[in-house]
């Protein structure tokens, strides 16, 4: 049996035992809406990811764009727009059937819309959920991606090639949209292998926090990527218009990096 499967099964067993001990499973699922995608993971994952007594409603105004079929299991593009549901405190994106379900969490500050585009590694066909926490209620939108898969258990390209090390944490980016607009798009990528730890002999090595601040030092948004985010992640965010953005990041090995992206002319 592949190592990742053993790990996943062991993790599931542990979580199951814990949830039984706490005795909350039946309560937690009492008000959970039926899953339109009919995944058996839905009732199991929601209490673990969103909380035992999370209040959950489905909301199809939350846009979750993703290809119906993944052409490249290492880079499946997803774009989430949860701006229809008001000021989002936390946006959690997860894939039911990935060995590590949570792909990332996005925390836009007041005034920043909950819009984010990224790529992730898919292991097999799976629903993708975007859960937006607004006034204590999780509003959930979703999409389905079919995939031949294997993305999560493949080593990164970087891990096979030492040249990335010299560029680790290197950021490139730009903003799109005029200075006098209310909002603009911020596009940036970071050189990083984003290894999941599920490929044989390669430990998990991934960016786990990115913070964006404006020139006045105020936080615009915080991004908490997890292992499934693709190698050399490219993010597309919608932010209030600013003259420049400072991006500060760190990975799970304690490497820190930062850069300032100037408003393009």
């Amino acid at each position: 049996m592949p190592v990742f499967l053993v790990k996943t099964l062991a993790m599931k067993a542990l979580l199951f035992i814990v949830s039984c001990l706490v005795g909350m499973t039946s309560l937690a699922n009492a008000t959970l809406p039926q899953d339109p995608l009919k995944s058996s993971q839905w009732e199991y994952l929601v209490p673990i990811i969103l909380g035992e007594d999370a209040e959950v409603v489905l909301n199809d105004t939350i846009v979750v764009n993703a290809p119906a079929a993944a052409e490249d299991s290492l880079n499946v593009p997803v774009f989430v727009d949860a701006s229809s549901v008001g000021q989002v405190e936390r946006l959690v994106v997860f894939a039911d059937w990935n060995p590590i379900p949570i792909i990332l969490e996005y925390r836009p500050e007041p005034g920043t819309p909950a819009n984010i585009g990224f790529d992730f590694k898919v292991q097999q066909s799976t629903p993708i959920r975007a859960a937006a926490l607004v006034d204590g209620v999780w509003q959930v939108g979703m999409a389905h991606v079919s995939a031949a898969g294997g993305g999560c258990t493949l080593p990164s390209m970087g891990s096979a090639d030492e040249s990335w090390a010299a560029k680790l944490g290197e950021i490139s980016g730009r903003t799109i949209g005029q200075r006098d607009n209310l909002y603009q798009s911020l596009l940036f990528d970071v050189v990083h292998p984003m290894d999941t730890g599920l490929a044989d002999g390669i430990p998990a090595f991934f960016i786990d926090e990115l913070t964006l601040t404006n020139p006045a030092g105020q936080t615009i948004a915080t991004l908490l990527p997890k292992e499934p985010v693709s190698e050399n992640p490219l993010f597309n965010l919608r932010i209030p218009a600013v003259d420049s953005v400072v991006i500060r990041g760190r990975d799970n090995n304690g490497n820190a990096f930062s850069a300032e992206i100037m408003q393009s002319e």
């Binding site: 764009n65 079929a69 052409e71 790529d119 031949a148 944490g169 490139s172 597309n236 820190a256």
Partner: protein
């Protein structure tokens, strides 16, 4: 497809995997025309045009389809046309739907250009995994059989027929086009798609467009595209022009979208513009092309920050 036929197919899931009908195109050339779709269980991967030339001194096979069973069905169908033995198999390029049937032709040598031979050797197993996933049981028994011998541009006479080989580039690194000189026929491989969206997993769009211009200058009356409808006489150039028009639009549309910072998942959600959305295998091929071509274009628009620390 006729609804009654479709229902009958549903009722007989164990029916013969492929029913290939040879269509005589010119005096010496026959074609098996595939559906203008993406791979699926329903079409069993029969989405490609393969062909054969009855030379008078043996049969030359032009591409061999997506599976062992497809190759076997080709052999069965050829036997209804001629008693001549198969003497040569030519693969236009290394994409699996053009050579996975090689396995069925173990009595004759298989040929491709040298770079395609080595691509078949390195990527065959990966393609096989992909096709088993998409096509399923029709693939049973298929083991990639890379072309055994290399072939270059040039010409040769076999029986009553002169075959001329042209090596172009763009769809893949080397795209072989076979001219059947006496029949004024061109077997274009995947450089040309007829009413079917072009596929781009190894494409260089700019080189591809240049190759189409060169292809247009060759002398022919009939053109067999790698996928889609066969074209002849006054409309023989049409699939070349259509393929060029689509590729030109695709390249421009993706570059503009990258400049605007559009996310690939948003592009996929928008779908291909009219009239390209009417092509066969849409929107699947457009979505695949975004994955093949767009990430690099998008990253190329990024700039160095004004400062950085790491």
């Amino acid at each position: 497809m006729n609804r009654v036929v479709f229902l009958l197919l549903l009722l007989c899931p164990l029916a013969q995997a492929y029913s290939l009908k040879p269509i005589q195109i010119t005096e010496h050339v026959y074609v098996f025309q595939g559906r203008t779709e993406h791979f699926s269980r329903d079409n069993q991967g029969n989405i490609v045009n393969t062909g054969f030339v009855v030379t008078g001194a043996g049969v030359v096979i032009l591409d061999t389809g997506p599976s062992l069973k497809y190759g076997q069905a080709m052999l069965d169908a050829i036997a209804t046309i001629t008693d001549e033995p198969v003497v040569k198999i030519i693969n236009t390029h290394h994409h699996p739907d053009h050579y996975f049937g090689n396995q069925a032709f173990d009595a004759a040598p298989t040929f491709a250009t040298a770079s395609n031979q080595s691509q078949m050797q390195t990527s065959g197993d990966g393609y096989a995994d992909g096709l088993y996933y998409l096509v399923g049981s029709a693939m049973v028994g298929t083991d990639p059989a890379p072309a055994q011998f290399s072939l270059n541009s040039g010409s040769e006479k076999i029986g009553n027929v002169t075959l001329k080989y042209h090596v172009f580039t763009g769809h893949t690194f080397e795209d072989l086009v076979i001219a059947v000189v006496e029949d004024k026929l061109i077997f274009a491989g995947d450089l040309v798609f007829g009413d079917r969206a072009p596929t781009t997993p190894h494409a260089d769009i700019e080189l591809w467009i240049k190759s189409l211009d060169k292809l247009r200058a060759l002398e022919f009356r009939v053109l067999i595209p790698g996928h889609g409808n066969i074209a002849s006489n006054h409309s023989a150039m049409q699939p070349i022009d259509d393929t060029k028009a689509y590729l030109t639009w695709l390249q421009r549309h993706l570059l503009l979208s990258a400049e605007n910072g559009t996310h690939p998942a948003q592009l996929i959600a928008e779908g291909p513009a009219s009239p390209w959305d009417q092509l066969g295998a849409m929107p699947d091929e457009y979505e695949r092309s975004i994955s093949h071509l767009y990430p690099e274009m998008l990253r190329n628009t990024l700039q160095a920050p004004i400062w950085q620390e790491r």
